[in-house]
């Protein structure tokens, strides 16, 4: 039955606008499914794709991890976001399938005044 091919389901997250730089402004980009007492099992998220669109924010990097401010833990090294361009990171090329057991958060290292970066992640939900 080849269970290894049925291990996880691919789900895309919402497009999130990162309008503030710095780890203190890390925003949730994917939420772990959880409903205490009703939802069966511990779910985890394996990052599969990351799409970034740089709204003329200047070339910078985006950090993806869990937590915010002092609790932020990176799941991946910083990903480049090139000024005014789309950057796509996908499986088998750029991304390690890092696994998160908490909501995935992200923040840009720097932003030009009044600019932002749009981010969307696609994950494999396991468990």
């Amino acid at each position: 039955m080849l269970l290894n091919t049925k291990d996880g389901i691919v789900i895309s997250g919402p497009v999130v606008n990162l309008a503030a730089a710095g780890v203190a402004n890390a925003a949730v980009v994917f939420t772990v499914p959880v409903l205490a007492g009703q939802f069966i099992g511990t779910k985890s998220l394996q990052i599969r794709r990351v799409n970034l669109y740089n709204n003329a924010a200047g070339t910078t990097q985006v950090l993806i991890g869990t937590g915010v401010a002092g609790t932020f833990v990176a799941l991946l090294p910083a990903l480049d976001s090139i000024n005014a361009l789309n950057d796509s990171y996908g499986p088998n090329t750029d991304l390690v399938a890092a696994e998160a057991f908490a909501n995935i958060t992200a923040y840009p290292v720097a932003l030009g005044a009044g600019t932002s970066i749009d981010i969307q992640v696609e994950v494999i939900i396991r468990g």
């Binding site: 039955m1 080849l2 269970l3 290894n4 468990g127």
Partner: protein, 195 residues
């Protein structure tokens, strides 16, 4: 019932070991109970246990898998696999090692879905609430956030063919024991070495 037996390998998931109105012999350690199935249903794959976080190069405590226990008069048939990078030792009931060779107790790890895609070798049956238990071993140099087990199978409700109850049938039990009537033998525990 030549096509209904434990440890069956086939294309697809797994077959039930008995159907409605068929006889089963439940073997639990050294006891045997002769019964008849009067209800069965499939149990879809579900996460039956999460050991939680497990530090690097550390075994977990032995943990009862209460989510695999069955109600009175019922037995469950399950195949299972872990989805996190640990080796799992099974005890069934909690004090008896399962898959025990003379010198080694065999664990199951994530590779099972590649080496045994039908999970035949993980098949276990559980009689009522007779406590399956597991230990997880994290042999890696990285702590695990979770060690999760997925199980799937069947639930069987049975009636007692022995004793003096409503469904007692001493003649049928005698014929099962002598081989004149068909019966699926279901082993619902491990067995100690030399026991």
């Amino acid at each position: 019932m030549p096509d209904l037996y434990i440890f069956k390998s086939q294309i697809g998931m797994l077959d039930p070991v008995a159907l409605y109105n068929q006889n089963v012999a439940i073997h639990y350690v050294k006891s045997t109970y002769y019964r008849k199935v009067d209800f069965l249903e499939a149990i879809p794959p579900f996460q039956c246990l999460d050991f939680g976080a497990l530090a690097a190069t550390t075994p977990s405590a032995r943990t009862n898998v209460t989510n695999l226990e069955m109600a009175d008069n019922e037995f469950g048939l399950f195949r299972w696999y872990p989805i996190d990078d640990a080796q799992i030792r099974l005890y069934h009931p909690a004090g008896i090692s399962k898959w025990q060779l003379r010198n080694l107790q065999i664990p199951v790890d994530m590779q099972i879905v590649v080496r045994d895609p039908n999970l035949v070798s993980t098949e276990i049956a559980i009689w009522e609430d007779n406590r399956p238990a597991m230990e997880a071993i994290n042999g890696g140099a990285v702590a695990l956030n979770a060690v999760r087990i997925i199980a799937m199978g069947y639930r069987f409700h049975t009636v007692d063919l022995e004793g003096r109850g409503e469904f007692a049938d001493p003649t049928l039990v005698a014929n099962i024991k002598s081989g004149k009537e068909p019966c699926t033998h279901v082993f619902c525990s491990g067995r100690g070495i030399g026991d």
